[in-house]
């Protein structure tokens, strides 16, 4: 079994806020992150499989790219994450984005293939989600 990771990129604005809380509470809770700002995000998608004995490929990279670019990157690139329909109700922290992207990608990829979604928000902040088990 090999695990193949593909790195994608998007740039987006976001603003951390829980709509159930007052502006004051949100400002206190999220600090600087409560102000609208943006990141050059990296999205790492890891899928596992056995290389096909003939083609040597465990993953159809073209299909993976089409899936991730269509279902995630095109939806979020150069947008405000709070306005993305697929992220409705998501507080756009890195960990919540990783989980939201997992939930979008897992059913769109071959059953059981998805192993990890990592969201790299800045060079200092990295978030990973592996399906919530383990």
């Amino acid at each position: 079994m090999v695990a193949l990771t593909r790195v994608y990129h998007f740039s987006a604005a976001h603003q951390l806020a829980n709509p159930a809380l007052s502006p004051e509470r949100n400002a206190a809770l999220y600090g600087d992150c409560h102000r609208r700002h943006g990141h050059n995000y990296y999205l790492e998608v890891t899928v596992a499989g056995r290389p096909d004995p003939v083609t040597g490929m465990a993953v159809d990279l073209g299909r993976l790219d089409d899936t991730v670019n269509g279902a995630v990157v095109a939806q979020v690139d150069h947008r405000s994450l709070e306005e993305v329909p697929a992220l409705r109700g998501v507080i756009t922290t890195g960990e919540s984005l990783a989980r939201a992207f997992w939930r979008i990608l897992a059913p769109a990829l071959p059953t059981g293939a998805l192993r990890r979604v990592a969201v790299v928000e800045t060079a200092k902040n990295r978030f990973e989600y592996e399906g919530g088990v383990g």
Binding site: M1, L4, T5, R6, V7, T55, G56, G62
Partner: protein
């Protein structure tokens, strides 16, 4: 009783050419499946070799990184750097995909480093694609 295990990773680089093709297939079939990858091209590969083991109480090391550098250098880098992967006997009948390259690197290193010490091989084809293999 679990040992006090730690992980040491060293990065290596090599530049190599490859192309994807299955000998038994017609050119048209290869073109249909592999597209532009049927044309010889190359990559600046990066290889991250991770060793797992107890920290030696004398040296404070999991492995002497100089030893790791020598073994990986002699076994993998000298073999594949500025080489054509398709011309290597290890890729006879085996398409040199990143997946297969990770497996081949593991197979070269495991006997030298010990399958119990070698934890993971990560092959980066470019900064957007890597494959991990842990020997099973």
């Amino acid at each position: 009783m679990s040992a006090d295990l730690a992980y040491s990773t060293r990065r290596f680089t090599f530049a190599a050419a490859h192309r994807y093709s299955v000998e038994e297939w017609s050119p048209e079939e290869n073109e249909r499946v592999f597209g532009r990858l049927t044309v010889a091209h190359g990559h600046n590969y990066m290889l991250d070799v991770t060793i797992r083991g107890p920290i030696d109480p004398q040296t404070g090391m999991v492995i002497d990184l100089g030893e790791l550098k020598r073994i990986v250098g002699e076994t993998v880098v000298e073999r594949f750097d500025h080489a054509d992967l398709n011309a290597d006997a290890l890729f006879r009948g085996r398409v040199p995909t990143t997946e297969n390259l990770a497996i081949v690197v593991w197979e070269l290193l495991a006997p030298k480093l010990g399958a119990d010490r070698l934890w993971q091989v990560r092959v980066w084809e470019d900064p957007t694609l890597y494959v991990d293999y842990r020997g099973a």
